[in-house]
């Protein structure tokens, strides 16, 4: 009988609430242009890129302005990469078509025949040519240092490319016991069928109700934090129409779905700290960084002390462990610039010190003027990306001993899988629900 009433204590972590998020925009104005964002980005990353370049190519002279490149001498220049391609979404094309299509799928930007890669800085831009450029993982907005010579046509033939490399990292905390972070992505609760059996089983597993006392329930007790990484709700696409049309602005559908999601998540939130990040399909901003879902959207969850609503991307801190999370829009856009696997692109973006370099070019984002929030000044210990097609994880290392576990979280609605990250060892496990 005593085994039947035994209650396990759930592990707890130090509060994550005192991270002030650089991704909050506060009151927004749209009177400014995006050039400020680019110049802030270049200003933040140019010193690091130049330093990395000097380290890599010791005796080469830097040309301060890209337009001043001249002569047969090899030199390196630092600037922002810009990929110009016919496949990129163009407002002119959108205007030509009758209906405005909100996003373009699937086309690889760099595979268009008229793709050109430039390097830009405040003075101007110069075209980059060479096989090195074609093979490199590059995207618009990446700050890079390129080594090469000027060609006869005035282009820059590239011999080597290097980036700012990983930012300094705080030391990894030493934990005495295994604690897990459960990363759940893409629940995609729909209006037709919000609650499915798989979701119910997931909730029961996370709360420790399902499972026997031998393994599963103790494992559930070790889950210290649950993060919902985007696309918790799957709203039907809104009909196109005038802004004041009643049909377009019918938010009762979203409100009803939010209520059901709230009731479902409150069960989990009552038992374990839950953090929710908005995703592409959630009722949240379209442009990055997405602001936190209002707590009033999930009132029952908000009653619990462990519930927090995060931005996308978001930075968490659990017991000294730093995790950077994204709901996937930035990586999905990077995948249009390169056919490399998503985990490699995420690892590369850590090397670029910028998690969303394609913003604002092909990824919508807010026109910041004072800083570029996507620049990484510190490398996190874990970088997780949600709403991917399958699980993947790599460890990427930096020049000064930095080490980051990159985790790609599959969509729960497609794969019925969640990811458990061990905070002590940074090892990942998947948990699959088979209903």
């Amino acid at each position: 009988m005593s085994a039947d009433t035994f209650c396990l204590e759930r592990v707890s972590v130090a509060a994550t609430n005192d991270i002030t998020s650089v991704f909050r925009t506060g009151r927004r104005t749209y009177g400014q242009q995006f050039d400020e964002l680019y110049s802030q980005r270049l200003r933040s990353l140019k010193p690091a890129a130049a330093e990395a370049a000097e380290h890599r190519w010791p005796r080469v002279q830097e040309t301060p302005n890209v337009l001043n490149v001249e002569g047969p001498q090899a030199t390196f220049i630092v600037g922002t990469v810009f990929v110009d391609s016919g496949n990129k979404p163009s407002t002119l094309h959108q205007v030509e078509r009758e209906r405005w299509v909100s996003d373009i799928h699937g086309e690889q930007y760099r595979e268009a025949p008229d793709t050109v890669v430039f390097l830009e800085d405040e003075s101007g831009r110069i075209r980059l040519v060479g096989s090195v450029v074609d093979k490199a993982i590059l995207a618009s907005g990446v700050v890079a240092a390129v080594l090469g010579v000027e060609t006869a046509e005035g282009d820059f033939e590239v011999a080597d490319i290097c980036f700012a490399r990983m930012a300094p990292q705080k030391p990894m905390p030493v934990l005495k016991e295994d604690k897990y972070v459960a990363l759940v992505s893409g629940l995609q609760m729909t209006t037709e069928r919000p609650i499915t059996l798989a979701l119910q089983l997931l909730a029961e597993t996370l709360c420790g109700e399902l499972g026997a006392l031998g393994t599963m329930q103790p494992l559930a007790a070790k889950i210290a934090q649950v993060v919902l990484v985007g696309d918790t709700m799957q709203l039907p696409p809104a009909p196109l129409g005038h802004a004041e049309d009643m049909r377009v602005n019918d938010r009762t559908v979203a409100a009803k779905l939010a209520k059901q999601v709230d009731g479902f998540l409150a069960d989990i939130a009552a038992n374990v700290p839950v953090a929710i990040m908005p995703g592409a399909a959630d009722p949240a901003d379209t442009s990055l960084p997405q602001q936190p879902l209002p707590r009033s959207l999930l009132p029952q969850c908000s009653q619990y002390s462990g519930f927090s609503s995060l931005t996308n991307p978001a930075l968490l801190q659990l017991d000294g462990l730093y995790l950077l999370g994204s709901s996937g829009q930035n990586i999905d856009d990077l995948r249009r610039y390169s056919s490399e696997p998503a985990s490699r692109l995420a690892a590369a973006s850590l090397g670029w010190r910028h998690i969303a370099p394609t913003a604002p070019d092909t990824l919508w984002c807010y026109p910041f003027t004072t800083h570029d929030p996507f620049v990484l000044h510190d490398t996190p210990h874990v970088y997780f990306v949600g709403n991917q097609s399958q699980f993947d994880s790599v460890v990427t290392r930096g020049p000064d001993g930095q080490s980051t576990r990159v985790v790609m979280i599959p969509r729960f609605a497609d794969t019925n899988q969640i990811v458990l990250v061990n905070m002590r060892t940074l090892e990942c496990s998947t948990l699959e629900i088979s209903a």
């Binding site: 109700e209 069960d267 998947t430």
Partner: protein, 468 residues
């Protein structure tokens, strides 16, 4: 003891009642620990294997040949039938299973389990029966949460004034539904639905620290209650007054409106039904907005049109509606005249008319007495109303501009004796009289109708004029 109760309940519900019973349901009904419920179900199933069927929850780690850097282990939680149990158990390490549910026959469609789980109640309500103790606590009003959403919201004295304005105009009811669509703010709709939604959990959870119940009035605003909702257009709307540091006048005004709207909402909800309350608050909102606009616009004109709907919110439109809507509901003719005057003041009439209207106000006051503006002897000017077609611009439900001609009452001045033949040769007397007649003339000519249509009938012989 509980074993007997369990088997009694299970035999009643599963075997006789032909229902699906999950372990959670059993635990909830008998108020026993879930692990005990699982055990009891297993023993019941062992005794009654012929009469019911069980679904098992199997957990374990998938067997993997080599260790992988990216993946430490692949865990599996599966619902299986008894027949599959043994085969799957072999494929897993650390496999464990327990009874998940009991049903009268094999479940072809597992959606029945979804329904059964929903009917078992919430896990949070029976948390004391769970196997893992919660590491979070329920927030009370006193505890605060350092939240990413939190923004400081100091009180504003304007809020109190706005509340006072709100109280004054509350009794006024406008019945014209069509014109609501113009001023009905999309965001207000959002706050309304959220407010209604909040009322439901607020009743069930008394210590809801995030309750939006603003019955305590405009003055109370604990900083923790800050929620910044965004209107459809990305602007922050705060239920409580927002921080005044960066806000321009326009957002202030909006916040006032929304706050008033919220207050009206909560004031009315306890008294009226939800639909009626919605209709009322909808109707009152345009008027409150109207009042707000008139008061603040004089103080400081808005510098930026931050919301798209504001771009449509011309004063002309709004005041046109308001005054014209009140015309139709007022019975008092003199009031109607006043309103008609206001209406004609603000409608898209020419400047000359406007000027004459202002001057008409004076004779209006002393209409009965007076000869002082009569330009001819024996002529007394009488203020009358006549029906006339006016052009109105409205916005329909889809936000499109619609032009309609509607009948409307309009005031005009008329001499007691024959005014029409005398009009063309009006002697320039006092300025007001001339302009008043010019106004009448304009009205006459613009309508293209003779005045005789609106003149009350006199002797038919008057048709023949003074020659008689």
């Amino acid at each position: 003891m509980s074993a007997a109760a369990a088997s009694e309940l299970l035999s009643f519900q599963v075997i006789q009642g032909e229902q699906v019973v999950t372990y959670r349901k059993l635990s909830n009904e008998l108020q026993i620990h879930i692990n005990e419920a699982k055990r009891l179900m297993a023993s019941f199933y062992d005794d009654h294997k012929d009469r019911c069927h069980a679904t098992f929850a199997l957990t374990g780690a998938k067997k993997r040949e080599m260790s992988n850097d990216s993946l430490a282990s692949e865990l599996l939680v599966a619902l299986v039938k008894e027949s599959e149990l043994s085969t799957l158990t072999n494929d897993l390490e650390n496999a464990e299973y327990h009874v998940y549910s009991l049903e009268p026959r094999i479940l072809e469609d597992r959606n029945a389990l979804v329904a059964a789980n929903i009917s078992s109640g919430n896990m949070r309500d029976s948390a004391e029966l769970g196997a893992v103790r919660s590491s979070v606590s329920l927030l009370t009003k006193s505890t605060t949460v350092n939240d990413y959403n939190r923004e400081p919201e100091p009180k504003r004295p304007a809020a109190a004034a706005a509340a006072a304005v709100n109280q004054e105009i509350e009794p006024r009811q406008s019945k014209n539904e069509d014109q609501q669509a113009v001023d009905e703010d999309v965001a207000m709709d959002e706050t309304k639905t959220l407010d209604i939604k909040k009322a439901a959990p607020a009743t069930t959870n008394k210590n809801d620290s995030k309750s939006k119940d603003t019955s305590s009035g405009a003055t109370s605003s604990a900083p923790t209650k800050a929620k910044s909702m965004k209107s459809f257009f990305g602007k922050n709307i705060s239920k409580k007054p927002a921080s005044s540091a960066e806000s321009s006048v326009k957002p202030d005004r909006d916040n006032d409106i929304f706050k008033q709207e919220a207050e009206k909402e909560t004031n009315q909800k306890p008294e009226q039904e939800k639909e009626k309350g919605q209709a009322d608050s909808q109707e009152q909102v345009p008027e409150s907005e109207d009042m707000e606009m008139q008061s603040t616009e004089e103080v400081e004109p808005p510098t930026k049109r931050q919301r798209v709907e504001d771009m449509f919110d011309d004063d002309d439109f709004v005041n046109d509606f308001k005054s014209s809507s009140t015309i139709l509901t007022r019975d008092n003719k003199s009031n109607a005249e006043t309103k008609a005057m206001d209406d004609s003041q603000q409608s898209m009439a020419s400047a000359a008319e406007t000027q004459s209207d202002v001057e008409m106000a004076e004779p209006m006051v002393s209409a009965s007495e007076d000869d002082h503006d009569g330009n001819e002897k024996g002529r007394r000017r009488v203020r009358k109303l006549r029906k006339v077609n006016k052009i109105k611009h409205t916005k329909n439900k889809r936000g499109m501009l619609v032009t309609q001609t509607v009948e409307d009452w309009e005031s005009y001045f008329e001499s007691e004796s024959d005014s029409e033949p005398a009009k063309p040769k009006s002697v320039p007397g006092k300025q007001s009289a001339a302009s008043a007649e010019a106004y009448d003339q304009n009205k006459t000519s613009s309508k293209g109708k003779s005045k005789s249509s609106a003149v009350p009938q006199r002797s038919i012989l008057s048709f023949f004029g003074k020659k008689k």
